[in-house]
């Protein structure tokens, strides 16, 4: 994992026992994870235990730590990579373990956060149908044809919408057949 000079400097400051004692280090790492995961953390660095640390230093360390954590999650770094990186920044083993356990605890949330930065087509979540029997219309009498009205519920970025279309029985059979093909290929893929 490659880190920029400024991130490295911030981490080195964070590792320095003269700047952060163990207690404030623990509180600080918790705050860093909170600030990344929870939508609005107004006073990230206003914790009373951190009052004695210079605010500029605190902000710098915060930037470095958040960047490091995000990079780690982004590249799916394993324990050895993370600890070697932190040891390069002169972290003590104890502090590395602390950070790593917090990272593991928050990993799913952070991955969810990063995977949500994505674009995808509308996602079908459900389907509803209606069977109709057309008897006549303005242009044609004695039609007497069954037809289906299909409504697909879709979702995109939290907003849902519907796609409505009609089809005859043959067309619905075609549609279902193609979907079954897809499901079959999924099953095949799950067995290899």
């Amino acid at each position: 994992m490659e880190l920029s000079e400024s991130v490295m400097k911030g981490l080195q400051t964070l590792a320095d026992p003269n700047v952060f004692d163990l207690k404030s280090y623990t509180i600080f790492t918790e705050l860093v994870f909170d600030s990344l995961v929870s939508p609005r953390c107004e006073s990230v660095l206003g914790h009373p235990e951190l009052k004695y640390i210079d605010q500029t230093t605190l902000k710098h360390c915060h930037t470095a730590a958040t960047t490091f954590i995000l990079e780690g999650v982004k590249q799916n770094a394993d324990k050895s990579t993370i600890s070697s990186c932190l040891e390069d920044a002169r972290f003590q083993i104890e502090r590395v373990d602390l950070l790593y356990t917090s990272l593991q605890k928050n990993k799913t949330n952070l991955e969810y956060l990063l995977s949500s930065i994505d674009t995808c087509p509308p996602h079908i979540t459900d389907a509803a149908w209606r069977l109709e029997y057309c008897i006549k219309n303005s242009h044609l009498h004695k039609v007497n044809q069954p037809s289906y009205l299909i409504s697909l519920n879709t979702e995109r970025g939290g907003a849902s919408s519907e796609i409505n279309f009609s089809c005859t029985m043959e067309q619905l059979q075609d549609l279902v057949g193609k979907m079954k093909d897809a499901a079959k290929s999924l099953e095949r893929a799950s067995q290899s």
């Binding site: 400024s6 958040t66 930065i117 979540t125």
Partner: protein, 639 residues
Amino acid sequence: MEEVDRILIHSLRQAGTDIDEDVQSVKQFTSELIVEAVVRCLRVIDPALGNGLSHSLPPGMSARFRLGMSLAQACQDVGFKGEIGYQTFLYSNEPEIRSLFMFLVEKLPRESAEASDQPSGKSALLQRAIAAQIRAQLSVPWLPPSCRLPIHRKTQSSGPCHSFHAQPLSLPYSVKLSSRKQTKEVQEYWRNYLLPVTSQPSRHASVPASLLENHISELSAAQEWESEWNSQGLLSRLTPEEYRSRKKARLQKRIEEQLRAAAQPRPDAHGATRSTSDLAELLLSFGGVSTGGDVLTKGTRFTHTEKFTFTQEPEKAAQQMAAAASALPSSHQSEEDLKVQQEAELSALQQQLQQLSVQMEEVGGDIKQLTVSIQQVSDELQQKEVSNAEKENSVKMKRQTIDLLPDAEDNLLKLQTVVEASSKRVVHLASQWEKHRVPLIDEQRRLKELCSNRESESSRKLSEIKDLHDKIRQSAEEAKKKESLYKQLLTEYETLSKDVSRSAYTMRILEIVGNIKKQKEEITKILSDTKDLQKEINGLTGKLDRTFAVTDELVFKDAKKDESVRKSYKYLAALHENCTQLIQTIEDTGTILREIRDLEEQIETENGKRTVSNLEKILEDYKAIRQENSALAAKIREG
């Protein structure tokens, strides 16, 4: 043979043959099994060849015969040298089948055999991971959107979707300057007003994107600088700071030139002095930067006015800053109040701004006029001064000549002597100069040489440094590659089921090798024993012959004299003959025994070929074929 059979059976199983657990040796293979095993092996070795063959014996006898023939042909195509035909498969005998299997197993490509059993490598790992993921998702039942648990939210809906939207972040450090060198205002801003990075973007969703992007841009900037420094910076023999500042100056100069070129078409070329156009002003400010290195220290008009406004109302500005800062966090205040306050502030500020700009314009006009007039006046002054000096000079000259005029002759002489003396002095000085010059030139040459030497030395070192840099980079890359490879191999190794058979095989192979070694030793021992025996026998025979010859001679000599001795000579001859016969008989017995053993072995091998049962089978099959033929004939007749 047991070991060989076990290995063969294991390999055949790996190739895809379905062999029962209780089949332990090749002897137990039935025709069906043989055919299946051979076809499977052929399919692995040469798919095109093997896929045309059925792996099960057909019921019809003639079809069996045909399959046997084609199998034999296929085996020969693959390269089997031994004798092979349909009978090899249908009426098998153990050694032939074993040699065929050994050949086929040898031919099995190692990787594909492994691949069919345990696909490995990155893509296979990925494939398996994908399969597992799909399985996991398929196993989760579908739920209506309203009753979804977190586990469903990830897979059964697209979830929140944000585009990768990065915003510039303001960071509490600077890459170029250490924090102590920053101005006090900046430091204060960092300490008191700068928001933490996670609160800076307008939407929380763009926090990760902004942070990641910021990091990447820092990294790539560092990389770019690195490569530039390695390719050009090092050769320039400057410190990084000097290189940077020189590059900056060069850039600024070019921009300035471009701007000047663009401004040239203007009719009044004195734009710089009159400073009427903005472009000229810009140029001026550029000039200031390129010479001074800092905009703020050099007094351009803009900075002057800026300073002017800021020094005029420092307290006010501070108050405004504080007000703005206090307004920032207290966003919970009622909107109305805030709006009113902001509007009032805005109007006040606008008024002030207008006032100031009016003032500024006035002052600017004044300044312009004044500078123009100053310029004119100073020009005039200079001209006047120049003319003044000229006039003074001429006046001096004239006064001297007038002083000298009364005693012209004398003065002329004096002047001549003075001229002569001065010319002499000039010659003297020249000689002196020459004296000094030679060592100086030498010195200069020496220094020049030294200088060039140093230059070549330094360029050599530079190239060495460059090489080293390259090497470092290469090694780092290699290390990275190797590390990733190591990781991959490690995961592969972990996923690999611990194949016990491999180690067992190596153990067994080692054992076999040990056995063979022991046997070899024994054989050599026996051989040497035999040799010794042979030698002994030869020695004894020689001794016997010699003893016999000596005895024969002695007895023969005496035999002429003595009758009884003659008799004993006769006995001796008879004894010798008898003994020779005896030896001959013993040797004959030995050869016969050996022959017997050979024959017994032959009988054994013949027995191994299952001739009787095979013959019976052949008879049966012959009957079956006849029956088939007659049935076919009957059918034809019917048809």
